[in-house]
């Protein structure tokens, strides 16, 4: 208790000295940055889960290609979960003479368990069918159906009309505007027809062997659903799968994940900087504490007691810094949430406690790690130091002592980066930077040693100061380099990367897909686009195929460990052919075919699917195409930017390979706002086309990008502040020694001007050196982050780099002068008394 009292008293008194404030401030910033990002992403995650549930229509779905096994339903009832069954299958529906393929969905009375249906229950013009609906908690009554506007349009029906669905005639009682669980494989869906599951049998549509997707939707208030999923997963048979909210809306998840990576990066930079600032500030803090502890030893304090004071003081600083950091982080995340606005859902769910706990743990770990290397030195300070000040002065800190700090730093980097490769490269860059600074400083010292001793000039006094204490010079250049590197990196990331990210989804990105184009309609459609002044489109062939064998070995689903690989192996592929590779594709391995390869059984595969299915260049794949076997050799692997929203294919062959198989065609295009009417004309001209509208989806992704960009700028403020804290700490770390030296110079007859010139020369060298190292390191890191992590092309910004270099060569000495001029203005007598 006494140790704590003394620790508290000392801390309170030391508040006046800059080092403790820098320590606390840096710690607070690091914790605030990580917790605000933590709180915010936690809320976004909750929102995603909430929205994911709405999109699934429940918290969990068990899907099967046969009727849902009774064991799943019984177990759910035993666990008191809410359940509802649905069935989905395509079927032709008729209205008079007109028929159209519809995606029929039969649902139980409680559908959906999460989210709601939006319907329009009165007769309106076709053009108005998309607006003015209301949410409902009911499902179609027996004998009635709800249909999507697209189906109503194509069949020319309205509310009140009847359709033939299988053997029954059913009345349309509402237009279905929005339905949860309408994500998924958008290219295989025909317009929706919703009906009551109790009517299914009477339609006679579902017979033995029919291809029906059965679903059991489940929901519960607590985590009973997760426990249920854990129970169900080992029981899944062939054709059965569990879908969680994480599977819903992959495109939104991708945009948010990228944003979270950005946020994590900014928070990570803050953490690194804070730790550097704390290390710098800990040096004078330790130095000042040496005398105090020596005196305590003199008065009879044991090593253990000193250790207790040290630990108490460390924990006090950690508590204050982390506590203030968590509070600041909480307040800051409210700002972030405001910037994000009604993203995803109207109001973001409240944050959980985990980010706060994470912040506290990281704060304590950081503080302990920073103090750890000095503990033994402080604890072992000889009492004799009271009489001989030189004792305990030499830094006995062992390199091993820095190991916990390195581990904590690495841990925090991995935690915040959320990306192993990124964290690894940041650590490597840090190590490289340290090495570069040490080598440069060593070379600099060697060069300086070559300076003739008899030359005069005040600036040489400053340069000589660097020569006298190379260790300190290295530490300082390192501190400044890290601070500057972070600031440069952030300015590049914030500006260029953010811009490039938004540019990756330009305003004219395709927002409509057309599928089901028949070969004889291609010219007509191109002509239509031409006439209406729309940009010319590429139309791609598409042939359904199923993968049977890899290198003559049959596909066995049990060979694939993860769900995605299993799903990919099981589902039908769309094969396509092309003479040239699409512009947004990138060849990774092998070679693209030449003109004379036409008709050769070659295949170019997308890298992701190849990895999932463990397919290598040169492998022979056998497909089932419309009942025929087709063997193709993998001749290249490609990277595809799926985010561009253009039509892209997992598997492409040279022209001439798939000529004998029936193909339909697909295209994507950008339809400017206000020209929706053109779609009606297009459908009127080519009634069999299916147009898929992804404009709303794109808007949502764009909205995420915009809001996240604001959120990012906000989080960057933390990084900026920690960067400044580092610069300040680097100055404070050596201030006392500098004041002592400057005073001695003054006493020995140097003028104020001479001392200032010496100081500026020293810091000009330090600033210039630091800026050089920082610019190179930041550019390399920015290049890596943009091109490898975010897949955004990087452009080196020479002017910005030069500007930063020139700026720091001026600003660092200026800041040093600001920090010191107060002391330089005082007469040496006053200074001598104060040191």
């Amino acid at each position: 208790m006494m140790a704590l009292t003394i620790a508290w008293r000392q801390l309170r008194s030391q508040w006046a000295s800059g080092e403790v404030r820098v320590l606390l401030f840096a710690l607070m910033l690091a914790v605030a940055a990580t917790t605000s990002v933590g709180f915010f992403t936690d809320r976004i995650e909750s929102a995603l889960i909430k929205q994911g549930s709405m999109l699934l229509g429940g918290d969990l779905v068990i899907a099967s290609d046969k009727a849902i096994s009774a064991q799943y339903i019984e177990e759910a009832e035993k666990r008191h979960l809410q359940t509802v069954l649905t069935m989905e299958f395509p079927s032709m529906v008729l209205h008079g003479d007109v028929s159209h393929l519809a995606e029929i969905k039969a649902v139980g009375a409680d559908f959906p368990l999460r989210g709601s249906l939006t319907i329009l229950q009165h007769k309106v013009e076709t053009a108005q069918m998309l607006t003015g609906g209301t949410e409902t908690s009911t499902v179609p009554a027996l004998g009635t159906i709800w249909i999507e506007p697209r189906l109503a349009n194509q069949l020319g029906v309205n509310v009140g009309d009847s359709l033939d669905v299988g053997e029954r005639s059913m009345r349309v009682t509402a237009i279905l505007q929005r339905e949860p669980s309408r994500g998924g494989d958008m290219f295989s869906i025909a317009p929706r027809l919703l009906m009551n599951i109790a009517d299914i049998q009477s339609t006679g549509l579902v017979q033995f062997g029919s291809r029906v997707k059965h679903q059991l939707l489940l929901a519960a208030e607590d985590n009973a659903v997760e426990e249920y999923a854990t129970w169900a997963k080992p029981l899944l048979g062939r054709g059965e799968q569990v879908q969680t909210v994480a599977d819903a809306r992959p495109e939104m998840r991708s945009a948010l994940e990228k944003a979270q990576q950005f946020l994590g990066l900014a928070a990570m930079v803050s953490v690194i900087l804070a730790m550097v600032a704390m290390f710098l500030a800990s040096q004078p803090y330790v130095q000042k504490s040496l005398d105090t502890y020596a005196l305590m030893r003199c008065f009879g304090a044991s090593r253990q007691f000193i250790f207790r004071i040290l630990i108490s003081q460390t924990l006090l600083i950690a508590t204050l810094g982390s506590g203030a950091g968590v509070l600041a982080g909480f307040v800051a995340q409210a700002g972030l949430a405001t910037l994000a606005g009604s993203l995803l859902v109207d109001t973001l769910p409240a944050p959980g406690v985990m980010p706060a706990l994470g912040g506290l743990v990281s704060g304590f770990a950081t503080m302990l790690a920073v103090v750890w290397p000095h503990l033994s030195r402080l604890q072992d300070v000889p009492a004799l130091r009271i009489l001989r000040r030189d004792l305990g002065e030499q830094d006995k800190t062992r390199w091993l002592g820095f190991l916990p700090a390195l581990l904590v730093l690495a841990g925090l980097i991995f935690w915040q980066a959320g990306h192993v490769k990124l964290a690894g490269i940041v650590l490597l860059a840090l190590a490289g930077l340290v090495l570069a600074v040490v080598v440069l400083a060593w070379m600099g010292t060697k060069l300086l040693s070559g300076l003739p001793h008899n030359t005069t000039g005040s600036w040489k006094l400053g340069i000589a100061a660097l020569k006298r204490r190379p260790g300190l010079a290295i530490a300082q250049v390192l501190g400044f380099s890290l601070g500057l590197m972070a600031l440069i990196l952030l300015s590049i990331v914030r500006g260029d990367l953010l811009h490039s990210w938004q540019q990756s989804l330009p305003e004219d990105a395709p927002n409509r897909f057309i599928i089901n184009i028949q070969p004889d309609q291609i010219d007509g459609i191109k002509q239509f686009f031409n006439q209406e002044g729309l940009a010319q489109v590429d139309i791609f062939p598409m042939i359904r195929a199923r993968l049977l064998e890899v290198n003559a070995k049959s596909i066995n689903l049990n060979d694939y460990k993860d769900d995605r690989a299993r799903r990919l192996a099981e589902r039908e592929f769309n094969l396509s052919w092309a003479q040239d590779m699409q512009q947004d594709n990138q060849l990774l391995e092998g070679a693209w075919w030449q003109a004379n390869d036409q008709g050769k059984p070659l295949l170019s595969l997308e890298q992701g699917i190849a990895e999932s299915l463990n397919i290598k260049l040169g492998d022979k794949l056998t497909y089932d195409v419309a009942g025929n076997r087709l063997e193709l050799e993998v001749s290249s692997l490609r990277k595809v930017e799926w985010d561009t929203m253009r039509a892209n294919f997992f598997a492409v062959t040279p022209p001439g390979v798939l000529n004998d198989f029936p193909a339909s065609y697909i295209t994507s295009f950008h339809l400017p706002r206000g020209q929706e009417n053109l779609l009606n004309q297009l459908v009127r001209e080519f009634p069999n086309l299916t147009i898929i509208d992804v404009a709303a989806l794109l808007d949502q992704v764009r909205e995420i990008m915009n809001k996240m960009s604001h959120a990012l700028e906000y989080v960057f403020v933390f990084s900026l502040l920690t960067g400044l804290a580092v610069l300040y700490a680097a100055l404070v770390a050596t201030r006392e020694e500098r004041v002592r030296e400057a005073t001695l110079l003054r006493v020995l007859g140097a003028s104020r001007r001479q001392v200032i010139i010496a100081l500026l020369a020293e810091f000009f060298t330090i600033g210039g050196l630091a800026a050089l190292v920082a610019s190179i390191a930041a550019s390399v890191l920015a290049y890596y982050i943009s091109s490898q992590v975010f897949n955004i092309p990087y452009q080196f910004n020479l002017w910005a780099t030069l500007l930063v270099m020139a700026g720091s060569a001026i600003l660092v000495p200026a800041a040093a002068w600001l920090g010191m001029h107060h002391f330089l203005n005082q007469p040496p007598r006053v200074l001598l008394q104060s040191i």
Binding site: S13, G300, P382
Partner: protein, 228 residues
């Protein structure tokens, strides 16, 4: 039974070995200080006065020989053991005051009392500060006080735990003559009141003469100079 001495040094050697060879600082030094005695150790600069003080107070260990405090051999104890003896039996006044800059006058005086686990630390500290005439400056930090005032705080700190032995290392070395004189009066006055054994290291003969016995450190040995 023989009453133990306050301080005793037996065959005390201290030397430094470096690349230049062996440098003897103390050589078979003998010293006996009975309880209540006021002893002055004088000697020229570099004669090893501070080294001897450090050894007697257990701040350092001898190369060979023994130091006994109140009959307990401290030279064979480890650093923590010696610290415990210091906390129990010794007080210190240094040339450069050695106050903790981050603590107030009161907190500085309370520190050794607290380290000794004294429940009445504050009360004792207040008394001691009052005794040295600083009752009005309890909450002042060292930087807010003059050299003389800082040394008075140091004296209050040294006497507050009522130590058996007080080590004073050039207590007036950093003060002007007038202030130094007042500090000396205070030091000896308090010493007389408490009957504390005083070991005073100084090069100031006038100050040394106020002690009962004077020894001169020369060539690593002590020579009795009481006749001076």
């Amino acid at each position: 039974m023989q009453t133990p001495l306050a301080v005793e040094a037996v065959d005390l050697d201290k030397y430094i070995e470096n690349s230049a060879g062996k440098l003897d600082i103390l050589n078979s030094l003998q010293l006996k200080i009975p309880f209540g005695e006021k002893l002055a150790i004088i000697g020229s600069s570099g004669s090893g006065k501070s080294t001897l003080l450090g050894l007697l107070a257990g701040l350092d260990s001898p190369s060979s020989g023994k130091v006994l405090i109140e009959g307990t051999e401290i030279s064979s104890l480890d650093e923590d053991g010696r610290a415990a003896v210091r906390g129990r039996s010794m007080g210190f006044v240094f040339q450069s005051f050695q106050l903790i800059p981050s603590l107030t006058a009161l907190e500085n005086v309370m520190l050794p009392l607290q380290l000794a686990g004294r429940a009445d630390a504050k009360e004792q500290a207040l008394n001691a500060l009052e005794r040295v005439g600083l009752a009005q400056r309890l909450m002042h930090y060292p930087r807010q006080m003059s050299g003389g005032e800082q040394q008075r705080v140091a004296i209050a700190r040294a006497f507050a735990p009522k130590p058996a032995i007080l080590f004073a290392d050039e207590p007036t070395g950093n003060l002007d003559a007038q202030t130094g004189e007042r500090i000396v009066e205070l030091l000896f006055g308090l010493n007389a009141e408490t009957g504390t054994t005083l070991v005073l290291v100084t090069h100031d003969l006038t100050l040394a003469r106020r002690c009962q016995r004077i020894v001169r450190l020369q060539d690593g040995r002590l020579h009795d100079e009481s006749a001076i």
